[in-house]
Symmetry: C3
Subunit: 339 residues, 3 copies
């Protein structure tokens, strides 16, 4: 493994940045606090600005407004995080995926595997499923029936596509994710639950990323849909017939219940929930652990919950919350029912 | 794959429904908005009533009270969702499971597999475990020691039964679920955690359904128990020694901590939590993302949390919540401590 | 399988307990309510004290202050739960793990497997990874590239270590856990998400335990770190570059967002969340389903949320919460803006 070295001037030219200071070579990337002379680092989050003065990084990518505080060589960028992401990609060691089907894989004869695709150890490919050119189905993945995996997709390991799951191009899915399991459809019938058949599928657009142990159920009748460039973190639950608009990102442990419709360019915070059958317009931001209980028609930021407090104080506020209606009625000039 | 067609009159007779309008053939099911002439659709949730007038569905299953608004043929049902579920099952394409043990499976010689059971690719069956008639252990499942899988169970794929897990009949488990892992039993001992042995098992009643990536730990001493017909959605966490009564349903991402006891016919909303050692009587409904912090002895609906608000407004309310005790004390006629 | 029997006097001597009452033999452990003559039971949680009088257990481990209420033989312990854990371990039936590599496993020739390690059925070991003496990699595990599994570790089944994950000694990981997946690093670039390379790894200290379906992402630049003796329950999400101090325990479904730093000996309740880039000092307790939104510099217990209420009452309080700022302003003597 040879170490690649890049001169700061070359990086400036390649990514359209402005070099300020001496031209140095860098052979890796690191945080401001951990970097040494041979590293390139970056400053994007103002929270870390205090680390700039003392960094030993050879080169720092930052905004022009932060450049004066930089002790060494700087690369000026309008968006330092984006510029850093592009540079860091030069140092990422991709895993080698040799084309072909691992001898331990179990492949249904009715499936179609492109010869440039890679099927890993102990993977299963079910009836009538297809794997397109350059796609990787990692070790331990289970692909059920009637699935389609598009060009350049990567299912890292132990991913399950249960049934009727169609992935666009370059979809990246992390281990433990389950797409296309039965939606949670049950009807109470004479005192017992009756299972409602789940006849739809899952449709995932190009360039989506789906986190580890995330679950996306298939639709009851129509498909559950992720439009292009949707980014889902780990441990997310997407119910049947949900529709998520392009470029929306959801943080870990968030969940969307059945038949809800999330707009484009939304940001859903960690642990947040959206109830079923709701509609969120484009550009909605939901903060962490908030619960969306009604449709949202105006872009902007929405929240629920209460602030973190020392438990002793919180107990007092919480006890009062129980009687909030009575307290409000007593407040002078109160309208008696604003609920 | 031949397309099956059913006359509305035949469906009416088969499922005890009343046909109103022309007798039509249907060859599939669809939502009101997506259906065309050859489809049967349904109206159960009043939210979708506005779609009834414009639907192109050949036949619609609905309540008699909605029938006048139906432009075409109607099948009248007391519970349209139940009737629809029964009809839709006619169109579900089951996955074929040939009896036998896949050549790549690893089966302990001390296990007992019924000859009509199906053991999928790359499955493992541990010592002294049994798989009954007609049961399916899908690809990539790991069955540990001393487990019993009842007649007609289906473990779709990549399900793990760790140890001492006994499933009744017709239990359906979706991919990624883990039953019978160690409960979270630790005791602080001289500054370090000491692991408490988890000697119990998991007992799952007939007709239960367990969602993708749901986890059910085995008991510390006695078993963790799901009575019959319990329905768990995806990503649910059930702690050790929990007992869940028959016909209870839990939505995605909900959790029950150790040794809690949930009654029969309860409904636990998505993301809701129940603390350990509590007892919930039969017929309790907990709304989404609520936290149950005390035992409940009266059936009914329970909630916690605050409503969703624009973040700017929420910040004001949240800031005031911190001082709620002081505000309440100032309110005229306030009893000084109602907590 | 022979049943082992232990005299109470022998247990007293072995674990430093005081025997009170007749010396009896016990051949198993059970709860107070389920125990019979041949069982040893324990009383640690005062919640179960009422069961002491009627227990049929042959021997009960309890505090001296509870001994008078014990109908039979007692073993007095300063910490009955710890003493019970040690005794119960005598009755735990470990799973046998024969050293060696299962013939169905797929092992990269550049990996190093100690001859005393056990590699289970359908496991994969990737390039340059190592498995130390006595370690167990259970059935269906996927170990990627450049991972190190320390002495005496146990990966029960279907565990994934994606890349650059290094485990200390005696780490126990339950099924479905995923360590070392890409952190959730994305940057918005000209209207599309750009993936930020995740170049770090995961470092797990000695004696950690990681629950079923828990996910721990690898760092963006530096490592995600768990110090020694960290105990994580099921379905927990740990973001990239998080650092968790020694002896901290987290209950099920809790989550820590990227770059947060949790101190030593913290207790994070079930479903609780910690936002990114925060710092929690040693000895912080966060109650269940609370959201930590700011750094904590003082040890103690912290909470957010509202109490559980009957839904009808909760609706009234929740509606008033929306107008809490107005209500507070009206309260006599109110400072107009305490926010």
């Amino acid at each position: 493994m040879t170490i690649q070295t890049f001169p700061a001037s070359g990086l400036a030219e390649r990514f359209g940045l402005v070099l300020r200071g001496a031209n140095r070579d860098v052979s890796g990337v690191a945080t401001l606090s951990a970097a040494t002379q041979e590293h390139l680092s970056f400053l994007a989050n103002p929270r870390y600005r205090s680390q700039l003065e003392s960094t030993r990084a050879g080169v720092v990518v930052l905004r022009e407004s932060d450049a004066d505080a930089c002790p060494g060589t700087a690369l000026l960028a309008a968006d330092p995080y984006v510029a850093f992401a592009r540079i860091a990609a030069l140092f990422a060691q991709g895993t080698a995926h040799a084309p072909g089907i691992h001898p331990t894989a179990a492949v249904d004869p009715s499936s179609q595997i492109d010869p440039t695709a890679c099927i890993g150890a102990h993977a299963s490919i079910g009836a009538r499923s297809t794997v397109a050119a350059g796609a990787v189905v990692g070790p331990g993945c289970v692909i059920g029936e009637d699935c389609a995996i598009g060009e350049g997709c990567e299912l890292v390991a132990r991913v399950t596509l249960v049934k009727r799951v169609r992935l666009g191009k370059r979809v990246l899915i992390h281990p433990g994710a389950v797409l296309g399991a039965d939606g949670f459809g049950i009807a109470m019938d004479a005192g017992r639950w009756l299972k409602v058949p789940q006849l739809g599928g899952v449709l995932v657009g190009d360039d989506c990323e789906i986190g580890a142990n995330t679950t996306i159920d298939r639709g009851a009748l129509e498909d559950t849909v992720l439009e292009e460039d949707v980014r889902l973190d780990n441990q997310i639950q997407i119910g049947h017939n949900v529709h998520i608009g392009a470029h929306t990102a959801m943080a870990g442990c968030s969940a969307v219940a059945g038949s809800a419709r999330i707009g484009r360019r939304c940001l859903i915070g960690g642990g947040a929930g959206v109830l079923g059958h709701l509609e969120l317009c484009d550009g909605v931001v939901v903060t962490a652990m908030s619960l969306v209980t009604h449709s949202i028609r105006t872009p902007g930021e929405y929240s629920s919950g209460t602030p973190l407090m020392p438990n002793r104080d919180w107990r007092k506020s919480a006890a009062r919350f129980k009687h909030l209606d009575r307290i409000a009625r007593r407040a002078p000039g109160s309208d008696k029912d604003t609920a």
